[in-house]
Protein backbone atom coordinates (compact mmCIF):
# COMPACT_ATOMS: atom_id res chain seq x y z
CA UNK A 1 0.00 0.00 0.00
CA UNK A 2 1.34 3.42 -0.85
CA UNK A 3 1.36 6.48 1.39
CA UNK A 4 3.87 8.93 2.75
CA UNK A 5 7.40 7.56 2.84
CA UNK A 6 7.95 6.00 6.23
CA UNK A 7 10.73 7.34 8.45
CA UNK A 8 13.67 5.15 9.39
CA UNK A 9 13.80 3.60 12.85
CA UNK A 10 15.78 6.48 14.35
CA UNK A 11 13.48 9.16 12.97
CA UNK A 12 10.50 7.15 14.13
CA UNK A 13 12.04 6.85 17.60
CA UNK A 14 12.50 10.63 17.75
CA UNK A 15 8.96 11.26 16.56
CA UNK A 16 7.48 8.86 19.10
CA UNK A 17 9.55 10.40 21.91
CA UNK A 18 8.41 13.88 20.88
CA UNK A 19 4.80 12.79 20.69
CA UNK A 20 5.06 11.11 24.08
CA UNK A 21 6.29 14.43 25.47
CA UNK A 22 3.09 16.05 24.26
CA UNK A 23 3.92 17.28 20.76
CA UNK A 24 0.71 17.01 18.70
CA UNK A 25 2.54 17.68 15.43
CA UNK A 26 4.79 14.66 15.95
CA UNK A 27 1.74 12.55 16.76
CA UNK A 28 -0.06 13.79 13.66
CA UNK A 29 2.96 12.94 11.53
CA UNK A 30 3.08 9.43 12.96
CA UNK A 31 -0.57 8.91 12.12
CA UNK A 32 -0.14 10.02 8.53
CA UNK A 33 2.10 6.99 7.98
CA UNK A 34 -0.53 4.59 9.30
CA UNK A 35 -3.92 6.19 8.66
CA UNK A 36 -4.55 4.50 5.32
CA UNK A 37 -3.80 1.03 6.62
CA UNK A 38 -5.83 1.62 9.78
CA UNK A 39 -8.85 2.85 7.82
CA UNK A 40 -8.58 -0.17 5.55
CA UNK A 41 -8.43 -2.49 8.52
CA UNK A 42 -11.43 -0.85 10.23
CA UNK A 43 -13.40 -0.91 6.97
CA UNK A 44 -12.66 -4.61 6.62
CA UNK A 45 -13.69 -5.37 10.19
CA UNK A 46 -16.88 -3.31 10.32
CA UNK A 47 -19.87 -3.87 8.17
CA UNK A 48 -21.74 -0.58 8.18
CA UNK A 49 -20.34 2.22 6.00
CA UNK A 50 -19.46 5.18 8.18
CA UNK A 51 -18.66 3.06 11.22
CA UNK A 52 -15.01 2.86 10.22
CA UNK A 53 -14.78 6.65 10.25
CA UNK A 54 -16.15 6.83 13.81
CA UNK A 55 -13.97 3.98 15.00
CA UNK A 56 -10.87 5.45 13.41
CA UNK A 57 -11.39 8.66 15.38
CA UNK A 58 -11.62 6.60 18.55
CA UNK A 59 -8.43 4.79 17.57
CA UNK A 60 -6.53 8.06 17.18
CA UNK A 61 -7.77 9.43 20.49
CA UNK A 62 -6.99 6.20 22.31
CA UNK A 63 -3.52 6.16 20.77
CA UNK A 64 -2.88 9.74 21.91
CA UNK A 65 -4.07 9.05 25.44
CA UNK A 66 -2.17 5.76 25.75
CA UNK A 67 0.97 6.82 23.95
CA UNK A 68 3.00 6.64 27.14
CA UNK A 69 2.38 2.86 27.21
CA UNK A 70 4.24 2.36 23.93
CA UNK A 71 7.72 1.37 25.03
CA UNK A 72 9.24 0.25 21.74
CA UNK A 73 8.81 2.72 18.86
CA UNK A 74 9.51 -0.05 16.36
CA UNK A 75 6.30 -1.74 17.57
CA UNK A 76 4.23 1.36 16.75
CA UNK A 77 2.47 -0.24 13.77
CA UNK A 78 1.36 -3.38 15.59
CA UNK A 79 0.44 -1.26 18.63
CA UNK A 80 -1.87 0.91 16.52
CA UNK A 81 -3.44 -2.11 14.84
CA UNK A 82 -4.02 -3.67 18.26
CA UNK A 83 -5.88 -0.55 19.36
CA UNK A 84 -7.87 -0.56 16.12
CA UNK A 85 -8.76 -4.20 16.61
CA UNK A 86 -10.01 -3.59 20.16
CA UNK A 87 -12.04 -0.56 19.08
CA UNK A 88 -13.58 -2.54 16.22
CA UNK A 89 -14.49 -5.43 18.50
CA UNK A 90 -16.01 -3.02 21.05
CA UNK A 91 -17.97 -1.37 18.29
CA UNK A 92 -19.28 -4.67 16.95
CA UNK A 93 -20.28 -5.77 20.45
CA UNK A 94 -22.16 -2.56 21.17
CA UNK A 95 -23.94 -2.51 17.86
CA UNK A 96 -27.40 -4.00 17.73
CA UNK A 97 -27.27 -6.74 15.14
CA UNK A 98 -29.27 -5.92 12.07
CA UNK A 99 -29.91 -8.44 9.41
CA UNK A 100 -27.64 -7.91 6.40
CA UNK A 101 -26.76 -4.44 7.70
CA UNK A 102 -25.04 -2.95 4.82
CA UNK A 103 -25.94 -5.13 2.04
CA UNK A 104 -29.47 -3.92 1.58
CA UNK A 105 -32.24 -6.35 0.94
CA UNK A 106 -30.12 -9.07 -0.62
CA UNK A 107 -29.88 -12.18 1.43
CA UNK A 108 -26.72 -14.14 1.95
CA UNK A 109 -28.26 -16.95 -0.06
CA UNK A 110 -28.98 -14.45 -2.77
CA UNK A 111 -25.38 -13.34 -2.79
CA UNK A 112 -24.17 -16.86 -3.15
CA UNK A 113 -26.67 -17.58 -5.88
CA UNK A 114 -25.69 -14.42 -7.74
CA UNK A 115 -22.08 -15.39 -7.42
CA UNK A 116 -22.76 -18.92 -8.56
CA UNK A 117 -24.68 -17.61 -11.57
CA UNK A 118 -21.44 -16.15 -12.85
CA UNK A 119 -19.72 -19.48 -12.92
CA UNK A 120 -20.06 -19.75 -16.68
CA UNK A 121 -18.67 -16.27 -17.31
CA UNK A 122 -15.09 -15.41 -18.04
CA UNK A 123 -14.72 -11.97 -16.43
CA UNK A 124 -12.01 -9.94 -18.11
CA UNK A 125 -13.00 -6.30 -18.05
CA UNK A 126 -12.15 -3.86 -15.28
CA UNK A 127 -15.78 -3.77 -14.32
CA UNK A 128 -15.70 -7.50 -13.82
CA UNK A 129 -12.47 -7.28 -11.88
CA UNK A 130 -14.08 -4.70 -9.62
CA UNK A 131 -17.10 -6.92 -9.27
CA UNK A 132 -14.85 -9.81 -8.24
CA UNK A 133 -13.23 -7.58 -5.64
CA UNK A 134 -16.62 -6.43 -4.42
CA UNK A 135 -17.64 -10.06 -4.05
CA UNK A 136 -14.44 -10.80 -2.19
CA UNK A 137 -15.03 -7.93 0.24
CA UNK A 138 -18.51 -9.24 0.92
CA UNK A 139 -17.26 -12.78 1.47
CA UNK A 140 -14.57 -11.46 3.81
CA UNK A 141 -17.21 -9.61 5.83
CA UNK A 142 -19.08 -12.86 6.18
CA UNK A 143 -16.13 -14.73 7.67
CA UNK A 144 -16.03 -15.20 11.44
CA UNK A 145 -14.43 -12.06 12.90
CA UNK A 146 -11.33 -13.87 14.16
CA UNK A 147 -10.63 -15.36 10.73
CA UNK A 148 -11.48 -12.09 8.99
CA UNK A 149 -9.01 -9.98 10.95
CA UNK A 150 -6.16 -12.46 10.49
CA UNK A 151 -6.79 -12.90 6.77
CA UNK A 152 -7.05 -9.15 6.14
CA UNK A 153 -3.89 -8.38 8.12
CA UNK A 154 -1.97 -11.05 6.21
CA UNK A 155 -3.25 -10.71 2.68
CA UNK A 156 -4.26 -7.06 2.43
CA UNK A 157 -1.82 -5.48 4.89
CA UNK A 158 1.08 -7.84 4.20
CA UNK A 159 1.86 -8.24 7.90
CA UNK A 160 3.93 -11.17 9.10
CA UNK A 161 2.48 -14.03 11.11
CA UNK A 162 4.50 -12.76 14.10
CA UNK A 163 3.02 -9.25 13.84
CA UNK A 164 -0.50 -10.60 13.47
CA UNK A 165 0.09 -12.86 16.43
CA UNK A 166 1.11 -9.80 18.47
CA UNK A 167 -1.93 -7.83 17.32
CA UNK A 168 -4.54 -10.50 18.03
CA UNK A 169 -2.72 -11.89 21.09
CA UNK A 170 -2.86 -15.47 19.84
CA UNK A 171 -0.06 -17.96 19.09
CA UNK A 172 1.32 -17.99 15.58
CA UNK A 173 -0.06 -21.49 15.01
CA UNK A 174 -3.57 -20.24 15.78
CA UNK A 175 -3.11 -17.33 13.39
CA UNK A 176 -1.90 -19.67 10.65
CA UNK A 177 -4.90 -21.92 11.18
CA UNK A 178 -7.37 -19.03 11.01
CA UNK A 179 -5.81 -17.66 7.83
CA UNK A 180 -5.83 -21.09 6.29
CA UNK A 181 -9.50 -21.68 7.11
CA UNK A 182 -10.40 -18.21 5.81
CA UNK A 183 -8.49 -18.85 2.59
CA UNK A 184 -10.18 -22.17 2.05
CA UNK A 185 -13.62 -20.59 2.51
CA UNK A 186 -12.83 -17.60 0.33
CA UNK A 187 -11.26 -19.68 -2.44
CA UNK A 188 -14.37 -21.81 -2.53
CA UNK A 189 -16.65 -18.79 -2.72
CA UNK A 190 -14.52 -17.09 -5.36
CA UNK A 191 -14.45 -20.21 -7.51
CA UNK A 192 -17.17 -18.91 -9.88
CA UNK A 193 -14.74 -16.17 -10.95
CA UNK A 194 -12.40 -18.76 -12.44
Amino acid sequence: MSGPEKPDQQQLGNLVARAQSGDPRAFEKILTYHQRGLLRFCTSMLVVPGDAEDVLQEVYLTAWRQLSTLHAPEALGTWLYRIARHRCIDHLRKRTPQPRDLQGPESLAGDIAASDDRSGENPESNAETNAAMTDLRRFVHELPANQRECWVLKEIHDLSYADISAIVSEPIATVRGRISRARTTLAERMRPWK
Binding site: Q10, N14, S21, G22, F27, L39, L61, W64, S180, P192
Partner: protein, 182 residues
Protein backbone atom coordinates in the same frame (compact mmCIF):
# COMPACT_ATOMS: atom_id res chain seq x y z
CA UNK B 1 -14.37 -30.76 0.31
CA UNK B 2 -11.43 -28.48 -0.23
CA UNK B 3 -8.15 -29.47 1.36
CA UNK B 4 -6.90 -27.12 4.06
CA UNK B 5 -3.37 -26.04 4.84
CA UNK B 6 -3.24 -28.45 7.71
CA UNK B 7 -4.18 -31.32 5.46
CA UNK B 8 -1.51 -31.57 2.77
CA UNK B 9 -2.45 -32.52 -0.75
CA UNK B 10 -1.79 -35.97 -2.00
CA UNK B 11 1.50 -34.63 -3.35
CA UNK B 12 2.40 -33.35 0.18
CA UNK B 13 2.76 -29.73 -0.94
CA UNK B 14 0.63 -27.62 1.40
CA UNK B 15 -1.89 -24.97 0.38
CA UNK B 16 0.22 -22.43 2.25
CA UNK B 17 3.20 -23.23 0.04
CA UNK B 18 1.09 -23.09 -3.10
CA UNK B 19 -0.51 -19.80 -2.07
CA UNK B 20 2.91 -18.26 -1.45
CA UNK B 21 4.10 -19.36 -4.88
CA UNK B 22 1.10 -18.06 -6.84
CA UNK B 23 2.89 -14.88 -7.86
CA UNK B 24 5.53 -16.93 -9.69
CA UNK B 25 5.21 -19.33 -12.61
CA UNK B 26 4.73 -22.98 -11.64
CA UNK B 27 7.96 -24.72 -10.70
CA UNK B 28 9.08 -28.09 -12.07
CA UNK B 29 7.05 -29.99 -9.49
CA UNK B 30 3.88 -28.03 -10.13
CA UNK B 31 4.21 -28.50 -13.88
CA UNK B 32 4.14 -32.25 -13.32
CA UNK B 33 1.65 -32.44 -10.46
CA UNK B 34 -2.04 -32.48 -11.39
CA UNK B 35 -3.09 -31.86 -7.79
CA UNK B 36 -1.00 -28.70 -7.58
CA UNK B 37 -2.27 -27.51 -10.95
CA UNK B 38 -5.85 -27.94 -9.80
CA UNK B 39 -5.09 -26.13 -6.51
CA UNK B 40 -3.46 -23.28 -8.41
CA UNK B 41 -6.56 -22.93 -10.57
CA UNK B 42 -8.77 -23.04 -7.48
CA UNK B 43 -6.82 -20.33 -5.65
CA UNK B 44 -6.23 -18.03 -8.64
CA UNK B 45 -9.52 -16.04 -8.52
CA UNK B 46 -9.05 -15.33 -4.83
CA UNK B 47 -5.42 -14.33 -5.31
CA UNK B 48 -6.29 -12.00 -8.16
CA UNK B 49 -9.13 -10.26 -6.31
CA UNK B 50 -7.00 -9.97 -3.15
CA UNK B 51 -4.23 -8.36 -5.18
CA UNK B 52 -6.71 -5.87 -6.65
CA UNK B 53 -7.95 -5.06 -3.18
CA UNK B 54 -4.42 -4.65 -1.82
CA UNK B 55 -3.26 -2.31 -4.56
CA UNK B 56 -6.52 -0.44 -5.10
CA UNK B 57 -7.85 2.70 -3.45
CA UNK B 58 -10.70 2.52 -0.99
CA UNK B 59 -13.46 5.07 -1.57
CA UNK B 60 -13.30 5.94 2.11
CA UNK B 61 -9.74 7.21 1.75
CA UNK B 62 -11.03 10.64 0.75
CA UNK B 63 -12.20 10.93 4.35
CA UNK B 64 -8.76 10.46 5.88
CA UNK B 65 -7.70 14.08 5.95
CA UNK B 66 -10.95 15.17 7.54
CA UNK B 67 -10.84 12.46 10.20
CA UNK B 68 -7.26 13.27 11.20
CA UNK B 69 -7.98 17.02 11.14
CA UNK B 70 -10.97 16.68 13.45
CA UNK B 71 -9.12 14.47 15.91
CA UNK B 72 -6.05 16.70 15.98
CA UNK B 73 -8.26 19.75 16.59
CA UNK B 74 -9.77 17.95 19.57
CA UNK B 75 -6.39 16.89 20.88
CA UNK B 76 -4.96 20.41 20.58
CA UNK B 77 -7.97 21.86 22.36
CA UNK B 78 -7.58 19.28 25.10
CA UNK B 79 -3.90 19.93 25.66
CA UNK B 80 -4.35 23.71 25.61
CA UNK B 81 -6.62 23.26 28.59
CA UNK B 82 -3.94 21.18 30.29
CA UNK B 83 -1.68 22.01 33.21
CA UNK B 84 -1.20 25.67 34.01
CA UNK B 85 2.01 27.15 35.38
CA UNK B 86 2.39 30.42 37.25
CA UNK B 87 3.98 33.00 35.01
CA UNK B 88 4.05 35.80 37.54
CA UNK B 89 2.11 36.99 40.55
CA UNK B 90 0.28 40.29 40.18
CA UNK B 91 -1.69 42.25 42.80
CA UNK B 92 -4.77 40.64 41.26
CA UNK B 93 -3.38 37.16 41.71
CA UNK B 94 -1.17 34.72 39.81
CA UNK B 95 -0.94 34.97 36.04
CA UNK B 96 -0.87 31.47 34.62
CA UNK B 97 0.22 30.00 31.32
CA UNK B 98 -0.62 26.68 29.70
CA UNK B 99 2.03 23.96 29.58
CA UNK B 100 1.20 23.60 25.88
CA UNK B 101 2.60 27.06 25.13
CA UNK B 102 5.72 26.36 27.16
CA UNK B 103 6.35 23.03 25.42
CA UNK B 104 5.69 24.68 22.06
CA UNK B 105 8.36 27.27 22.86
CA UNK B 106 10.85 24.49 23.64
CA UNK B 107 10.01 22.70 20.38
CA UNK B 108 10.34 25.85 18.30
CA UNK B 109 13.65 26.69 19.94
CA UNK B 110 15.20 23.25 19.44
CA UNK B 111 13.85 22.92 15.90
CA UNK B 112 15.70 26.11 15.00
CA UNK B 113 19.07 24.51 15.86
CA UNK B 114 20.88 22.71 13.07
CA UNK B 115 22.20 19.16 13.48
CA UNK B 116 19.83 18.45 16.36
CA UNK B 117 16.52 16.61 16.71
CA UNK B 118 14.34 16.99 19.76
CA UNK B 119 13.27 13.79 21.48
CA UNK B 120 11.65 14.39 24.87
CA UNK B 121 10.82 17.67 26.59
CA UNK B 122 9.33 18.20 29.98
CA UNK B 123 8.45 21.04 32.36
CA UNK B 124 9.38 20.57 35.99
CA UNK B 125 7.40 22.94 38.23
CA UNK B 126 9.00 24.61 41.20
CA UNK B 127 8.21 22.88 44.45
CA UNK B 128 5.85 25.61 45.69
CA UNK B 129 4.63 26.63 42.20
CA UNK B 130 5.86 30.15 42.86
CA UNK B 131 9.52 29.90 41.84
CA UNK B 132 10.84 29.44 38.32
CA UNK B 133 10.09 26.29 36.40
CA UNK B 134 12.86 23.99 35.17
CA UNK B 135 13.04 22.19 31.87
CA UNK B 136 14.36 18.77 30.88
CA UNK B 137 15.14 18.16 27.23
CA UNK B 138 16.65 15.16 25.47
CA UNK B 139 18.10 15.29 21.98
CA UNK B 140 19.56 13.31 19.15
CA UNK B 141 22.49 15.08 17.48
CA UNK B 142 24.24 14.57 14.19
CA UNK B 143 27.44 12.54 14.32
CA UNK B 144 30.57 14.68 14.46
CA UNK B 145 29.06 17.37 16.68
CA UNK B 146 30.44 18.20 20.10
CA UNK B 147 27.84 17.10 22.64
CA UNK B 148 28.83 19.71 25.21
CA UNK B 149 28.57 22.54 22.70
CA UNK B 150 25.27 21.23 21.39
CA UNK B 151 23.85 21.09 24.92
CA UNK B 152 25.05 24.61 25.66
CA UNK B 153 23.64 26.02 22.42
CA UNK B 154 20.36 24.31 23.16
CA UNK B 155 20.18 25.88 26.63
CA UNK B 156 20.97 29.33 25.24
CA UNK B 157 18.42 29.06 22.45
CA UNK B 158 15.64 27.85 24.73
CA UNK B 159 16.35 30.54 27.33
CA UNK B 160 16.33 33.23 24.65
CA UNK B 161 13.07 31.91 23.18
CA UNK B 162 11.40 31.91 26.59
CA UNK B 163 12.61 35.44 27.34
CA UNK B 164 11.44 36.72 23.95
CA UNK B 165 8.14 34.93 23.64
CA UNK B 166 6.94 34.29 27.15
CA UNK B 167 8.88 36.53 29.51
CA UNK B 168 9.04 33.78 32.05
CA UNK B 169 12.09 33.10 34.19
CA UNK B 170 13.50 29.60 33.93
CA UNK B 171 15.41 27.78 36.64
CA UNK B 172 17.62 25.08 35.19
CA UNK B 173 17.52 23.63 31.69
CA UNK B 174 18.77 20.05 31.73
CA UNK B 175 19.85 18.93 28.28
CA UNK B 176 20.74 15.30 27.58
CA UNK B 177 22.15 14.13 24.29
CA UNK B 178 20.90 10.55 24.18
CA UNK B 179 21.35 9.54 20.54
CA UNK B 180 23.52 10.27 17.53
CA UNK B 181 22.32 10.17 13.92
CA UNK B 182 24.21 10.21 10.62
Amino acid sequence: MTPSTDAPHSCTRSEDELWASLGSPPDAHELQCLTCQEQRRRLAPLAQAAQEWKTGTDPEESLLEGILGRVMHGIRTEIRRGTLFTLTVTPLGPLRISSYLLLEAIRDAVDSIEHVELRTHKIIPHADDAGPISLAVSLAMQAGQDGTEVAEETRRTIAARFAERIGMPIGTINVTVEDVFQ
